[in-house]
């Protein structure tokens, strides 16, 4: 009967715990059964209630004697008190778990209406009692079943006990006894159950059997897994050791470091897997242009230390840097399914997004943990009493400091409490001191910015990489500023005499400003350098280089006596005539010269108008300017075949503007029929000219603020020779006026291989030679090589990739070009900074901590004052600087990551080195800080700093992606005008044409500005909502 007593106690206790209503119901003498049965039934019912939807028949077994026997069998040698204790404990656990269930997971569908559910449970329970009593004649088979289920239930209870026991605040002995009881019961019954199951072969039983084994295994596996995961956290032991010696603040630095390590690991992993490895495996080295191979004379020095030190040589042409990666076109004919540029872009983007998300998630997690920490001074006294002591502290020094800080803390809060009553405790002296401090800090920051700007400018001067010192000067200055200025700030904050926490924040903020300022002046300087490099490399772009040099060459080599024709007199007419490149045709007949009077056009590469402009500037500066200042009356016949006059009017509109900017006079004649076209340079495919006498005229793009919008047209002018002999036919037509038709050339014809064109510039100067012939023709022979046309139907479509043509250039140009890949340069700078910073950190740890400690320890015996207590003393761990150092470093990594994809990899190494060295230095040569302040809140503060840093570091990168023109001879985006065109272009390709307009509209200011407004409004709304809620919260308090 002992068991019955347990059970009755349990149920009684349970009902007390639960609700009075239940209790009433239980005690109500509704059941005709004897009381102990009723109670036991209640218990089972309760159990049902807690576990699963109740099964009324479960309760039946209680009339049977089996449980008693079982309990009696495994009775442990305990006295009555223990039994009492046991039952009470079990009930406590059960009530606890039941309440946990109720409040926690909604297992039961009715749980949202818990009072109702209870009622239902109660009713059900009662009804079950009735059924039990009414169905008093069970068949033996059923009995057996129910007996089993009963055992099940009790086992469940006991298992519940086992799993919950560790949460009970009871003495160990009691817990162990409970566990032993429960286990003994389970063991016995599990055995019994299994035996019984073994006897009965029904599927359900086998399933149950299987289930038991499975659950056992599962629990075991779970435990093992938990064990494993605990040991898998890297450096946990090391950090904990530091924590126990130096308190939680110093440990927070290391946990922050470890977290950064994870973030970098993920970034580096993604970049290596998706960017570096495919590039190394699949890229076609032959078409790489200047990307992957060293020049022969570079090879000799490529592995020198000095070269490697500045990340030139081998390292420059390694996957570390942007320049190494190939553009899409370079993959050649066998287009691999893996598009490297897309992968590069998307992975870079994904890593940035990941970084943001990781920080925000971590912040959310932290703030969830210390949700209420913002009410810092709510219960400050109680907290100071009960939670001030950090139980982790096991070091006498730390403990002493902690005690000191607790005493200080109490005195402070008491003082603050006193301060609250009388408000103005400030005196003018302090104010003056503090404003002086602020002033000094500002001066310091300004000087640092000045120095950085100077250094960057110096590094851009010619001869900046003369010596090792000059090369790494920039990084050196950064490091010196980064390590010396905080000391000044420290000294200044000593003058200010702020509260230590406030002082720390001031310190953090100041160093952060310093870092940001330095970083930004670095960025600005580097960007101006990048712009210069970008421009210079565009000048060297094949098409334009040859064009320019050709013109210059022709103009200088051929001596054209045009000098006198410039003044007032009849203007000479010059035009370019394409000729076959074969030597015979270079002397072309006069007929051709007259042929192309009307077909004068301007070759302006739409993408780099400056260059063309420059070319014309050169022309202008030369004495031949006026020679090109032509006014050719082009007689258009109005109603001509294909409406040429309409189509031709473009030349009037935008050429004029262009000429104005260049400074070449255009004639005043602006009517449609008589168009003045100046200059004569144009590209066309030679073969086409030969076959069909098609001359293409490249339309200058609307880029130079001309009113011609959007679409860039390529028009082909063809004279319309109907006869079999075009030359004669045309020469005739020149005299009468050329008929011009317009036809659009197919784009593909232009968008291809390198072409070599020969042309002649001919000028006829009427009036010079008054003799029989009307035209004196002067011929300039030249060669124009164009590589690919420009078929920018849309600005974000890829251009022809010209990076492979660099091999045809002279060695000198190539060498210059190789130095002009600004993306790689940017990456190099940041990698240099990162590595330099690591070295500086290592040396500063050794100098400031290790050698100092060594000196103090050794020399203390033979020194006139106590070295350990007074100057210099042992170094202490400067938490603010170290944290900011990490933040700053991470910012640099984020900034350089896009142009140096393996920078996170370097950073991982760096972080590991720092972690080991720091932890070693802290443990061996540092002493705990005097003010041991709290770590819990500042953790999110660090992350906020990091987030700010990330945001600020993404800005320049996104600027480079959106605004800068990528180098045309290196990197994966060499054939795009802007890096992000890869994205928009691909998007446009995917989306059907009809949607383009919608897309454009969405991206236009018409949508973006209202959207921004909306966002601002939403933010405003949310902020005011938060404020309102906070107020309501305060009111409720």
């Amino acid at each position: 009967m002992q068991y019955q007593t347990y059970v009755s106690r349990i149920s009684a206790k349970k009902t007390v715990v639960h609700s009075i209503r239940k209790k009433n119901r239980n005690v109500e003498p509704v059941s005709p059964q004897p009381s102990f049965d009723r109670l036991s039934v209640t218990f089972a019912g309760e159990d049902n209630n807690a576990k699963s939807p109740s099964k009324p028949q479960d309760t039946r077994f209680h009339v049977e004697p089996i449980p008693e026997q079982d309990v009696n069998e495994n009775e442990l040698p305990e006295n009555e008190e223990d039994d009492d204790e046991y039952s009470a404990s079990v009930s406590a656990i059960m009530s606890r778990s039941a309440s946990v269930r109720k409040s926690g997971r909604k297992r039961r569908p009715s749980s949202p209406f818990s009072p109702d559910a209870d009622q239902n449970g109660g009713i059900r329970r009662r009804s079950s009692v009735f059924t039990t009593s009414s169905a008093e004649s069970p068949v033996s088979n059923v009995e057996e079943n129910t007996a089993q289920e009963m055992i099940f239930h009790k086992m469940k209870i006991h298992k519940e006990v086992l799993s919950q026991i560790k949460y009970q605040p009871w003495p160990m002995r009691k817990k162990i006894r409970l566990v032993q009881t429960a286990k003994a019961y389970i063991r016995r019954h599990e055995g019994a159950l299994q035996e019984r199951l073994a006897q009965k072969k029904s599927t359900k039983d086998i399933l149950e059997h299987f289930n038991i084994i499975l659950i056992n295994q599962w629990h075991k596996a779970k435990r093992e897994l938990a064990n494993l995961s605990n040991t898998m956290i890297p450096w946990e032991k090391r950090i904990k050791e530091i924590e126990s010696h130096f308190g939680s603040v110093v440990a927070s630095y290391f946990t922050f470091l470890r977290w950064l390590f994870w973030v970098n690991l993920v970034s580096a992993f993604a970049l290596v897997i998706f960017v570096a490895v495919p590039e190394m495996l699949f890229a076609n080295k032959k078409n790489s242009g200047e990307r992957k191979e060293l020049l022969d004379d570079e090879k000799s020095t490529s592995t020198n230390f000095a070269t490697l030190w500045s990340f030139q040589g081998v390292l420059k042409y390694s996957p570390f840097f942007y320049g190494y990666y190939m553009s899409e076109e370079d993959n050649g004919e066998k287009r691999f399914w893996y598009r490297h540029p897309t992968a590069y872009f998307v992975t870079g983007l994904a890593v940035y997004i990941y970084s943001f998300v990781a920080i925000l998630r971590k912040m959310a997690e932290n703030s969830r943990q210390s949700k209420l920490s913002e009410k810092e001074d709510e219960c400050i006294f109680s907290w100071k009493i009960f939670t001030a002591w950090d139980y982790m502290i096991g070091n006498a020094e730390t403990a002493h400091n902690r005690t000191a800080s607790i005493i200080l803390g109490f005195k402070e809060v008491l003082l603050e409490e006193a301060e609250k009553n009388r408000e103005d405790g400030r005196n003018w002296k302090m104010m003056a001191l503090r404003s002086l401090a602020h002033f000094v800090v500002i001066c310091l920051i300004v000087t640092s910015a000045y120095v950085v700007v100077q250094v960057v400018e110096r590094s851009m001067e010619p001869g900046a990489d003369k010596s090792w010192l000059r090369q790494s000067e920039q990084a050196l200055v950064f490091t010196v500023i980064g390590s010396v200025y905080p000391m000044f700030f420290d000294a200044i904050s000593f003058i200010e005499r702020y509260h230590p926490r406030k002082a720390l924040r001031m310190q953090l903020a100041r160093i952060m400003v310093l870092n940001l300022l330095n970083l930004y002046s670095f960025i600005l300087a580097t960007f101006s350098q990048m712009h210069k490099m970008s421009e210079r490399s565009l000048e060297l772009k094949p098409k334009n280089t040859t064009l320019r040099s050709t013109i210059l060459n022709t103009l200088t080599t051929t001596e054209l006596p045009l000098g006198k024709s410039t003044e007032g007199g009849p203007t000479p007419e010059c035009f370019q005539v394409p000729v076959d490149c074969s030597p015979t045709s270079s002397i072309s007949p006069l007929g051709l010269a007259t042929l192309l009077v009307a077909n004068i056009s301007l070759s302006a590469n739409p993408s780099n108008d400056e260059i063309t402009r420059e070319a014309f500037h050169t022309l202008e500066n030369s004495s031949w300017t006026q020679a090109y200042n032509l006014s050719t009356e082009v007689p258009f016949s109005e109603g001509n075949a294909t409406g040429s006059s309409d189509d031709f009017s473009w030349a009037d509109v935008d050429n004029r503007e262009f000429w104005d900017t260049v400074g070449i006079n255009t004639t005043e004649d602006q009517n449609v029929t008589g168009v003045n076209i100046t200059a004569a340079l144009f590209n066309y495919p030679l073969n086409r000219f030969n076959s069909t006498s098609v001359v293409e005229i490249d339309h200058p793009e609307a880029n130079f603020s001309s009113p011609i919008p959007t679409d860039f047209r390529i028009e082909t002018y063809s004279t319309e020779p109907s006869s079999s002999d075009p030359t004669t036919r045309v020469s005739e037509s020149t005299e009468e006026g050329t008929t011009i038709t317009l036809e659009t050339s197919s784009r593909d014809a232009l968008n291809g291989a390198n072409r070599l064109e020969c042309f002649q510039i001919r000028c006829k100067t009427p009036g010079i030679d008054e003799s029989g012939d009307r035209y004196t023709t002067m011929t300039l022979n030249g060669m124009l090589s164009t590589s690919g046309g420009f078929t920018l139907a849309e600005p974000d479509a890829p251009e022809a990739d010209m990076s492979t043509y660099t091999k045809t250039m002279s060695l000198k140009t190539r060498k210059e070009l190789r130095g002009l890949c600004w993306e790689t340069m940017f990456g190099q700078e940041l990698v240099k900074l990162t590595v330099m910073d690591l070295l500086a950190t290592v040396s500063s740890i050794l100098m400031m901590d290790f050698f100092r400690a060594l000196f103090v320890r050794v020399m203390n015996h033979c020194w006139c004052w106590d070295l350990e207590k007074r100057v210099p003393g042992y170094g202490d761990f400067k938490i603010a600087e170290n944290i900011l150092h990490l933040v700053n470093n991470q910012g640099q990594v984020w900034m350089g990551m896009f142009f140096s994809p393996l920078l996170p990899l370097i950073n991982i190494v760096k972080l590991i080195v720092i972690l080991y060295l720091r932890s070693w230095a802290v443990m061996t040569c540092n002493i705990p800080h005097e003010v041991v302040f709290k770590a819990s809140r500042s953790n999110n503060f660090y992350l906020a700093l990091l987030l700010t840093m990330l945001f600020l570091c993404v800005l320049p990168v996104s600027y480079a992606i959106v605004w800068m023109r990528p180098s045309w001879h290196c990197g994966p985006f060499s054939n795009y005008r802007h890096i992000h065109y890869l994205f928009t272009g691909t998007l446009k390709k995917i989306i059907p044409k009809a949607m383009h307009k919608v897309l454009d509209y969405i991206a236009s200011p018409g949508i973006v500005i209202p959207l921004l407004m909306l966002l601002v409004l939403i933010i405003y709304y949310l902020i005011s909502l938060t404020n309102a809620l906070r107020e309501a919260n305060n009111d409720l308090k």
């Binding site: 086992l162 026991i165 560790k166 949460y167 009970q168 605040p169 003495p171 160990m172 002995r173 817990k175 162990i176 566990v179 032993q180 286990k183 435990r223 938990a226 064990n227 605990n230 904990k240 924590e243 126990s244 939680s248 943990q369 209420l372 920490s373 009410k375 810092e376 709510e378 219960c379 400050i380 006294f381 109680s382 907290w383 100071k384 009493i385 009960f386 939670t387 001030a388 002591w389 950090d390 139980y391 982790m392 502290i393 096991g394 070091n395 006498a396 730390t398 403990a399 005690t403 607790i406 005493i407 109490f410 005195k411 809060v413 008491l414 409490e417 709290k934 770590a935 819990s936 809140r937």
Partner: protein
Amino acid sequence: MGNKLVIFTEEQLEAYQDCTFFTRKEILRVQKRFRSICSGSVPKSMTRDEASTITVPFANIEKLPELKENPFRARICEIFSRDGSGNLTFEDFLDMFSIFSEQATRDTKVFYAFKIYDFDNDNHIGCDDICTALRLLTHSELTLEEMNQVYEKAMEEGDVDGDGKLSFIEFHHVILRSPEFFSTFHIRI
């Protein structure tokens, strides 16, 4: 290593794992620590009831680096010892570190924190308790007046029913809101 010693039986280990927040490995480590305190009297193997009978005096336990600096060490040991003397058996010792481990739930921790700070065992934290705690914390550096001030302030903050002492529920309420408590109420072994 022919003489592999059975420190605990499998059952014991299972039971300890069920009763504490420790893994098997950690239990063994705790046992090692326990033996290192007073290796003379504690046997290496605890397969029978040595774990619950052999006690180690407080004077020795106090010397553990984890507890040495703790101002409340005497009180902590008192709580966990069966007779309130501060002498611990292995099981008590294990229990203590289980409660202080990071895996322990906050309710358990709060419960024991309350017990620790309730120096006079009257289930309330009164003026005397707070003054004792303060004295231990600050090495009696605060004056009596200051301590009284602190006490009054603490009661202002936490004492809801105004009886001049904190009951467990009030204590729980105060502690739960503290951002520090869960990060500091640990002892790592």
